[in-house]
Symmetry: C2
Amino acid sequence: MILLKLGGSLITRKQEPFSFRHGVMRRLAREILPVAEREPLVVVHGGGSFGHPLALEYALHRGLSSEEQLRGIALTRQAMAELTRLVVGALVEAGVRAFGVQTSAIAVCRRGEPERLELGTVRWLLELGLVPVLCGDVARDAELGVCILSGDTLVRELALELRPRRIVLATDVDGIYSAEPGSPGAKLIPEVTPESFGRLAPEMRSHDATGGMRRKLEELVELARRGYTSVIINALEEGRLRKALSGEKVRGTIVKG
Amino acid sequence: MILLKLGGSLITRKQEPFSFRHGVMRRLAREILPVAEREPLVVVHGGGSFGHPLALEYALHRGLSSEEQLRGIALTRQAMAELTRLVVGALVEAGVRAFGVQTSAIAVCRRGEPERLELGTVRWLLELGLVPVLCGDVARDAELGVCILSGDTLVRELALELRPRRIVLATDVDGIYSAEPGSPGAKLIPEVTPESFGRLAPEMRSHDATGGMRRKLEELVELARRGYTSVIINALEEGRLRKALSGEKVRGTIVKG
């Protein structure tokens, strides 16, 4: 089984609310099709400019403290439903038998960490030969009332539960850099291990609007500690996703387990 | 708590694929708002011209027997996701804090009957004061591989689990008739009881394309046997839904528990 994360900053334009990259997603879907026809695949997508701005505006990541946030919960879920529909729509159109599975319907969290994921439907879809598509989502939190279960945390949990043989994080950057990409001396780091991560962290910079890259890396290092190797790639470059899903070596950062 | 079913033939035009009645749904949302502000509410919607034609085309109600049906499973789910998005969108726009909950993510069936419904997210939403919106859906079936869990069966199950004090089935007809509506001598039957149902059944006619009215009535009679009263109304008539949700008497058929 292969686990693929489609980053929010890859499939949407982060700065422009509700801006889906239709053309990019159509191409990604075509790159996904061959591997989806060959072996089981689970897709997770992030919130991008659909879920993120609303979750931040209503401070849903900080738990439930005011009545006003209830509207934010409704709006965030609806935004994510819309984004999943667009992702699944592009996949189905390309011939991938994709089936959205609503994260907030199957997850219970505690302080933002998943405490339980009901994966019966996901396992059923994999058995049938369909491709479950989950997303980062607003979720029930047993302690905070509500939380944001990020796509990256979901990837970690799904990996531990479903034991994929390959994990690909498709983003809009080439991988982890030694400093802000584009700044003098910034170099792509081709490989991170749990050991090198400790030395790396202090100078590592957050590469997207929500500090996602640091968090992403932390989740992947946690997976590496448990023996799972993953790779971060720039899927805006045509063909990279297809190659990475097939196990070919491409430019990116391997987080080695 | 109030349980409301929005029939597929009410919110879509049954004969025309993917035809959502935007104007009707906007009005229904406005009629729902006052009651949603007063007390807990759960909404279920049917498949109408979104899910129904695909489920029939791929014979998903008969279980899994061919590879070709996998595409039908993907398409049916995607169609229902789209319909839920439209229903929730209209509700949220009217000010109802609606939150879609994907039925296929929480249900396991056996021969088309729900064996288990994971209602944690639904209960959480009700506690917070949000309005869960579920739908009839393609679902996992432990025996058949796949099945269609109809909105009406879901209403019955949700009623038994959540114990609503009122159940309203909003459709596009006035209720149960003694014969095909419009035919000579056809009369609206204002009240059905489990006792009168036995006498009624032989001459009762199916009033919509999918035989839905007979099935609907059977589910409601089953609820009546367990003490739950429900009412079938024509929500194409302005104001009827609002009144029925408030417990006012309107033209329709009461299925008395």
